[in-house]
C-alpha cells in the first residue's frame, strides 16, 4: 500500500511544481483540477493492475508538466525571446546584461577559483610526498556547491536560455565551472510564483 501512496505523493508534487508556472490564483485552480484528475486515475476501477495505474498517472503528470509549460509561455512558444519575455515580466529583476557579459563574468570567476586552487595545492603540497588533505578539503566543497546549484535549479520557477535538465547536466559534468555558469547566466532568481504587480 505504501507504494501506491508514494506514487500519489510523487505525482502530486510534480503537479504542484508545474502549477508554479502560472500566476497564483490560476495555478491554484489548475492544481486543484489536476490533483482531482490524478485521484480519478489512481482510483480508476477499470484498470486492474496497480502498476498500470501508476504508469498512467505518471504519463498524466508528464503531460501536465508539458501543458503548464506550453500554457504559461506567451504566444511565440519555444522561441528564445518569448521565453526571455516571460521571466522579464515575471521575475522581479532588472534587464540582465548580454550573454557575452555574463559569460565573461562566469569565466572570470572560474579563473579566479582555478588560480586559487592551484596556488593552494602548490603551497600545501610542497613536501616530497604531497598530503592528500587539500583534496579532502576541496572535494566536499565541490559536492556541496553542486548540491546547492542543483537544489536551486530544481526549485527555480524558470531558468534562462536552456531547459532545466540541461543546466543540471552541465552542473554535474563540469564540477565547479558548470555551477558557476549556471549561477551567473542561467539563474533567474529565487522561485516565487509569478505575480507581477502584486505586493507579496
Amino acid at each position: 500500500m505504501s507504494g501506491a501512496w508514494s506514487v500519489r505523493r510523487t505525482c502530486e508534487r510534480m503537479i504542484r511544481s508545474s502549477c508554479r508556472h502560472f500566476p497564483a490564483e490560476v495555478g491554484d485552480d489548475r492544481c486543484r483540477e489536476w490533483t482531482a484528475e490524478l485521484a480519478a486515475i489512481l482510483d480508476d476501477e477499470s484498470i486492474r493492475s496497480p502498476v498500470l495505474r501508476a504508469l498512467r498517472a505518471f504519463a498524466f503528470c508528464a503531460g501536465i508538466v508539458s501543458t503548464s509549460r506550453q500554457l504559461s509561455r506567451p504566444a511565440r512558444a519555444g522561441s528564445r525571446s518569448a521565453r526571455n519575455e516571460q521571466w522579464r515580466t515575471g521575475a522581479p529583476r532588472t534587464r540582465p546584461g548580454g550573454m557575452a557579459v555574463r559569460l565573461a563574468v562566469g569565466l572570470a570567476i572560474w579563473l579566479v577559483v582555478a588560480a586559487g586552487f592551484i596556488t593552494a595545492m602548490r603551497v600545501l603540497g610542497t613536501g616530497p610526498r604531497p598530503t592528500p588533505w587539500p583534496i579532502l578539503l576541496v572535494v566536499p566543497l565541490g559536492i556541496g556547491f553542486d548540491a546547492y546549484c542543483l537544489r536551486d535549479i530544481v526549485r527555480a520557477a524558470d531558468v534562462r536560455y536552456l531547459r532545466k535538465w540541461v543546466w543540471a547536466l552541465i552542473c554535474l559534468a563540469q564540477m565547479p565551472l558548470g555551477g558557476i555558469l549556471y549561477l551567473t547566466i542561467g539563474r533567474v532568481g529565487p522561485a516565487q510564483p509569478m505575480t507581477p504587480g502584486t505586493p507579496s
Binding site: R32, E33, A36, D43, A59, A62, G63, S66, T67, L71
Partner: protein, 111 residues
C-alpha cells in the same frame, strides 16, 4: 479554428452529448488523448469561448474525493463544432468518392 485530428476527436466526444459534463480524465479516455495534448487544447477552446468549465458541487456522498472540474460545450461551441465536424466528414467522403482516379498502373509511377 484549424481542425486537427486530436481536436476532431475531442469535439466528437463533446458533441455526442453536449449537455453532459466531462472531466479531464473522462475526455482523455474517451478521445484517447494524452493529457499533454488535451489540456492545452481545452485551454484554447475555453479562451475562444467554445467550451466552459465549472467546478463540481461538493457532495457528501462523494466519498471524500476532491471536486472535479467539468467541461462542457457552450451554445456557440456546439454550433461551431457541429459545423466543423460536418465539414470534415464532407471533405473526407468527398476525397473517397473521387470517380476520376486513374486505375492503378495506367499512368504515372507508384509513389
Amino acid at each position: 479554428m484549424k481542425l486537427t485530428a486530436p481536436l476532431e476527436r475531442v469535439l466528437r466526444v463533446l458533441v455526442a452529448d453536449p449537455a453532459a459534463p466531462h472531466y479531464g480524465y473522462d475526455l482523455m479516455k474517451a478521445a484517447r488523448l494524452p493529457s499533454g495534448t488535451l489540456y492545452p487544447m481545452l485551454a484554447r477552446l475555453q479562451q475562444e469561448g467554445l467550451v466552459d468549465s465549472q467546478w463540481e458541487d461538493q457532495r457528501p456522498d462523494a466519498g471524500g474525493r476532491p471536486p472535479r472540474k467539468y467541461y462542457r460545450l457552450t451554445a456557440e461551441g456546439a454550433r461551431v463544432a457541429r459545423l466543423e465536424l460536418a465539414r470534415a466528414s464532407a471533405a473526407a467522403s468527398g476525397t473517397r468518392n473521387v470517380a476520376a482516379w486513374p486505375a492503378p498502373g495506367t499512368q504515372g509511377s507508384p509513389s
